[in-house]
Structure formats: structure tokens, C-alpha cells
Symmetry: C2
Subunit: 376 residues, 2 copies
């Protein structure tokens, strides 16, 4: 019997619990052994829930139980999620998580701790929710130089931009609609201002390039300044605007950013709408490969965590060495202001695509009331 513990029994944690109960027989067949959720750590009680009798309030019960092989950290936030994960790894327990905040900020240390203790730290659900991108990117990066990883990494902002494009709705109204649909939180800052996407692109860049930088160290711009008329003008210029997380090697460093970009209609990413996400990986050898699917949601996220658990407990040893990240700093990043792009200038009938130039140059070119966006 494989004994595991779930830390945090909110939306994602309870979703995982339910998925593991539902799939119990398939799992047992695949693992050749049963899987038991021995503990659930939460401050609350869940009377009447089929897993209600597993609830404990003291993490040390889990930490000190040698029967616990694996801990699924579903708490969210940095603390105590990071601290509990570190302690579990040091105690020789595998850890899986959907917590992008912890992976983005402490991933290098947690992976190194896992390596030192002969256990694994996996986090498929932290990037792209239900889209299985983690393993393919690791597999690619082992063999081939990854040129770039780019994607639509946040469903809330993609939904808002889609509504603005189709209905001409201003940003504030589209945001309200997203909130009433349950696609955006009451405090939408992490989504709308790009922080959620920043955490994800930092993790994707680490998978591709082996260096993890802090989300706070990369340039991040959200979608608050995008106007419906910008989307209309983009359409007339043969493309659309998408919030793009982007990581590539440029001018001797890593260029990592989140910002709204002009995406031509002949790129598949231009057609990723509503709450869906997509990740595009470019290797010289394979060319562009795109992974598309639901980026969030209780069931897809639970399924991604479940896949990590299965992977570990079935002994399907994805080379953990490939998952060693160097903790990067600003010195690993190249100066975005030196890089030249083509730009989409949005200004009514004067809208156009420029020759490649720096951001400073395009800024000077723009008249009052014109917005500019780099072309993907």
C-alpha cells in the first residue's frame, strides 16, 4: 500500500482527493498496489466527506510518519507551503504540487533538496493546468537546444481579451463579465497584471534552459491598457493581441517577459481563445510544437497532480537529473531595451507594423493616443 498525504483541502486539494478515490481501481492496477490517502492537512474539519476522517491539523504527524511516501502540497501561497515541502523532501518523502508561486520562487532549492535525498519533486499542474507540457519539454531539452518557449498562460486574461475582440467591450466591462462568470477573482490583480503568467513563464523557462529567475526580476505588463480599438486595429492588420509569456535566448542572456503582443493570424496562438491556454516550444530540430488545453480548473489540475503521483509511485523514472535548475539572477537576463522587434502600432487608420526597432525607438514614433505592441 502506498500512503500519501494531501496538504490543503481547498478546491484543488479536494479535487485531487476525489480524483484519487474515483480512479482507485485503475491506479491500483497500474501501480500494482493500492494507494491510500492517509492524511489530509487542513485547519478546517470536513464532517460527512468520505475523506473527513483523514483530517489532521499538525504537519508533524505527517512528517514523522515513516509510512508516508509522498506529500501532495495543494495549499497555495509561499508559506508554509514551501517550508512543509522542504521538510518533507528532507524527510525522504516525494513532493508533488500545483503551487506555481512556490515552484517559481523556490524551485531550484526544492529540486536540489529532492536530488540530495533521493526523492522527486514534480509540479506538472503548476504550468498549464491540465496541459501536459512538463514532460515533453524536459524530454526535448535533454536532447536538443530549445530556442524559445512562449505561451498564452493565463485563462482569465485570455477570456477578457477574447470578449473585448468579439464584442468590442472595454476592459473594465469584460473584467466584470469574467468575474460574474467565475473566470476572474474578486481581486483580479495577479491575473490581469500578469503576475500569474510571470510565474508560469519563469517555470517554463527553467524547464527549457535550466536556469530559474525570480518572477519579480522580469518585465511584466498586464492587459489593463489594451483597448477594444487596439484589438480591432490588430484584426485589420492581420492579427490579434494576446498576453504572451515569452522566454528565449537573445544577446547572450535569457529574454523573459510577459506583455500583450501582436500575434499574426497565421500563428496558431492567435486562435487560442476564451479560457484556454497554449504553450509553444521551438527547437531547431522539431520546429514549433504547440500544446493546447484547459489551463486551469479543479478537474484538469487534479488530473495533472495525479499524473505526477502515478509517475513517481510507478517508478517511471523521468530522469531527475534533467530537473536540476541553477538559481538565476538578473545577470542571467538580457536587457530587453536593447532587443529589436517589429511593432504593431495601434492608431485607427494609421495602424501599422513597423520595421524591427527597439522599444525606445517605437515609443518616439507613436503619436498621442497610439498604443504599441511587439510582434510575436
Amino acid at each position: 500500500m502506498h500512503n500519501i498525504a494531501i496538504l490543503g483541502f481547498g478546491t484543488v486539494g479536494s479535487g485531487l482527493g476525489e480524483a484519487l478515490l474515483t480512479d482507485r481501481e485503475r491506479l491500483a492496477r497500474h501501480l500494482g498496489d493500492g494507494l491510500d490517502i492517509k492524511y489530509i492537512l487542513d485547519l478546517r474539519e470536513f464532517p460527512g466527506h468520505p475523506l473527513g476522517d483523514r483530517v489532521v491539523h499538525d504537519f508533524n504527524i505527517i512528517l514523522n510518519d515513516p509510512e508516508i511516501e509522498l506529500v501532495a502540497e495543494m495549499m497555495g501561497g509561499s508559506h508554509p507551503a514551501y517550508d512543509f515541502s522542504l521538510a518533507a523532501l528532507k524527510a525522504g518523502k516525494h513532493v508533488v504540487t500545483s503551487n506555481k508561486e512556490v515552484v517559481a520562487n523556490f524551485g531550484a532549492e526544492l529540486l536540489e533538496t529532492a536530488r540530495q535525498n533521493g526523492v522527486r519533486y514534480l509540479f506538472e499542474a503548476s504550468v498549464g493546468g491540465g496541459i501536459p507540457v512538463l514532460r515533453p519539454i524536459i524530454n526535448e531539452a535533454v536532447l536538443h537546444e530549445v530556442r524559445s518557449v512562449r505561451g498564452i498562460l493565463n485563462g482569465t486574461t485570455n477570456y477578457i481579451l477574447t470578449q473585448m475582440r468579439i464584442h468590442g467591450t472595454p476592459f473594465a466591462d469584460a473584467l466584470s463579465a469574467a468575474q460574474s462568470m467565475g473566470y476572474a477573482e474578486a481581486n483580479p490583480t495577479a491575473d490581469v497584471d500578469g503576475l500569474d503568467a510571470a510565474r508560469k513563464i519563469v517555470i517554463l523557462a527553467a524547464l527549457a534552459f535550466g536556469v530559474i529567475v525570480k518572477p519579480d526580476d522580469i518585465p511584466v505588463k498586464g492587459i489593463r491598457d489594451v483597448r477594444p480599438e487596439d484589438l480591432q486595429a490588430a484584426g485589420a492588420c492581420g492579427g490579434t493581441l494576446k498576453l504572451i509569456g515569452s522566454a528565449s535566448r537573445e544577446c547572450g542572456g535569457l529574454l523573459i517577459s510577459v506583455r500583450p503582443c501582436f500575434v499574426r493570424h497565421d500563428r496558431l496562438l492567435a486562435h487560442v481563445d476564451d479560457v484556454f491556454n497554449a504553450v509553444s516550444v521551438d527547437t531547431g530540430v522539431l520546429g514549433e510544437v504547440v500544446y493546447y488545453g484547459a489551463g486551469a480548473g479543479k478537474l484538469p489540475t487534479a488530473a495533472a497532480v495525479e499524473a505526477d503521483i502515478t509517475d513517481i509511485l510507478s517508478g517511471s523514472v523521468q530522469s531527475q537529473e534533467a530537473l536540476t535548475w541553477k538559481a538565476g539572477s538578473r545577470d542571467d537576463l538580457c536587457d530587453a531595451s536593447l532587443v529589436s522587434y517589429s511593432w504593431f502600432i495601434s492608431g485607427g487608420t494609421d495602424s501599422r507594423i513597423t520595421e524591427p526597432m527597439t522599444e525606445e525607438a517605437v515609443k518616439k514614433l507613436c503619436a498621442a493616443g497610439q498604443n504599441y505592441y511587439p510582434c510575436l
Copy 2:
């Protein structure tokens, strides 16, 4: 040192040889040991080629060399590719291949032989070329019921349809253009009449549902009858026409087919153009996940085979049990004529989307000169 042999040194085989030479150091680091191409089986000689001194003409030299751990079958065609693969597996050697004809027709037997001999038979490159779909689908199918697998599985026909749509070119002219671009073969039948896509959908269905049927047993229709005016009418009805390989569970059996379908613009598959391929996998839990990329080509195909080799030699044991296929027959297939779809009827200004009905019913509905296509 890991010793391997390549069977067949044509486009794909030599591409693999070159990829393994180029990536020699990365591979050695990842595998913890070097990899040597000890033999190349081909009828020809390759004087001056860096691997020219490895060429042998007798398969028994490879079969009887206990140092050979793995055989990469890159010959194409059923015979002797199937026979050599079977012999190699029985001799306890792993086999990897890009040969969809062999996998589609003999996959169940070869996988079972691999299992019995404690070795592995992998074929990522046989479906989707450079798009890594095999492992994700296996992983999904282990845990969750796959509802359907659908895709644009042939680059040649997708290129032709794209040209017909954009330029209004008739089929015959678009085919000539594809041939002059090197996208279509002098004898284009396998592509244009759907056989290539049929082999791939049969393999994908086997990955998803565990049963492999013969490509000859499924209904297959190519793109010869698609007219530029059908594509134009489809556009006016909010979609486009794509050659779709489709496998799903319906009416107590598997519904597997290849035929041109109407795909609405709000489906990502509608936007997969030119020679690109895409595979859409629908599980109840994850929803739709789409994988997109180059479906063919020397480098992507070689890279996919290389990934299989790395996977096996690094001991990253993708559960081979999940790769056990029952050899299916016509009895496993449900009768497509009983299934109701919505249909796109193409007939100039009278073009329309119907209510769900059987093919027989829509046929009666069509006037002379009208074509009909099922809606995806």
C-alpha cells in the same frame, strides 16, 4: 557503451544517424554511457559517409551480435521490416520504428512479443512525426477514459486543402503544386486517398482504446472530391474543410474513420494549415488537449525516434503494460451508417448545416452537384 543498429539508410535512417552523431555528447551525458551505431543495414554502400564503414548487407550479422541492444527499423514497407523487427524482439533486442505501416498492421503482435521477451517496442515517430503525442496519450489512457482522438494527420493533404482554400485552386492543380514543392510524392495515392491518415488514426485509436484494427477495415475517404467552391461555402458557414482521422466510442463499439470534415472556426483544428499536423485528445477529465507541430520531415522524424531510443536506454520505463494492444477485428467497430451527425451541405448559396442525421438521410437531402461533409 550502448550498441545499436539502424535498418535502412534512406531519408529517415540517415537523418537518425546524423542526429545521433550530432547529439553524441548530450546523449552520453544523459545516458551515463556512450552510444555507438555499430551497424547500418542497407543494400547500398555509402562511401565517404561518416557512418559508411558500418554498412552491412546481412541482417543476421545484427541479429546474432549479442552486443546489439537496440534496433532502429527505418526501412518502410511491411516486409522485411516486420520480419526483422519480430526477429530482433525475439532475440531480446529493443526495437524502435517510424514505420506506421508495420505498427498499424502488426503492432499488437510486436508489442506482445516485446512483452514476452522483456524488451520494448516504441514508435513515436509513426504518428505525428515530430509531435510528441505517444507518451501523453498513453499516460492519459492509463488513468482516464479517453473519449475521442481526432486529428489532421497528413501534411500533404492539409497543404493541398490550404492552397485550395486560400487561392481557389482546383484539387489537381494544388496537387501538382504540392508535388513541385516536394510535399507530395510522384504517386500521391497513399496521402491523397487517406491511407496514410488511416494508418495513423488506427495507431492513435490503439493507444487510446487498447484495440488495434486494420487500416483496411475502417471507412476511408480522401480529398479528391473536395472542390474549391466547397471550401468557399464552408468559410461562409463559419468553418473549413479538413481531412480528419477520428476515433471515438459510439454505439457500443469504436467508430474510426478518415474523411474530409467540416470544422467550425471556433475549433483549433480549423486553424492548422499547410503541412502541419495536429492531434486532439478528449478525456472527460482534462477536456480537449491539442498537440500541434510538424507531422513529417527528416529532422522531426529522426528526433522522435531518437527520443524513443533515449527513453529505452536511459531505463526511463514507460510502463510497457500500458502498451498492450488487443488485435481487433471488424466486430470491434461500430457501423458508421447508424451514427447521426450534423452535416455541412455545400451547394453555393444553398449551403447549410443540417440537424443530426445519418449519412443515408443527408444523401437523400442533397441535390445534384451538392457535396456533404460531417461536422466535427
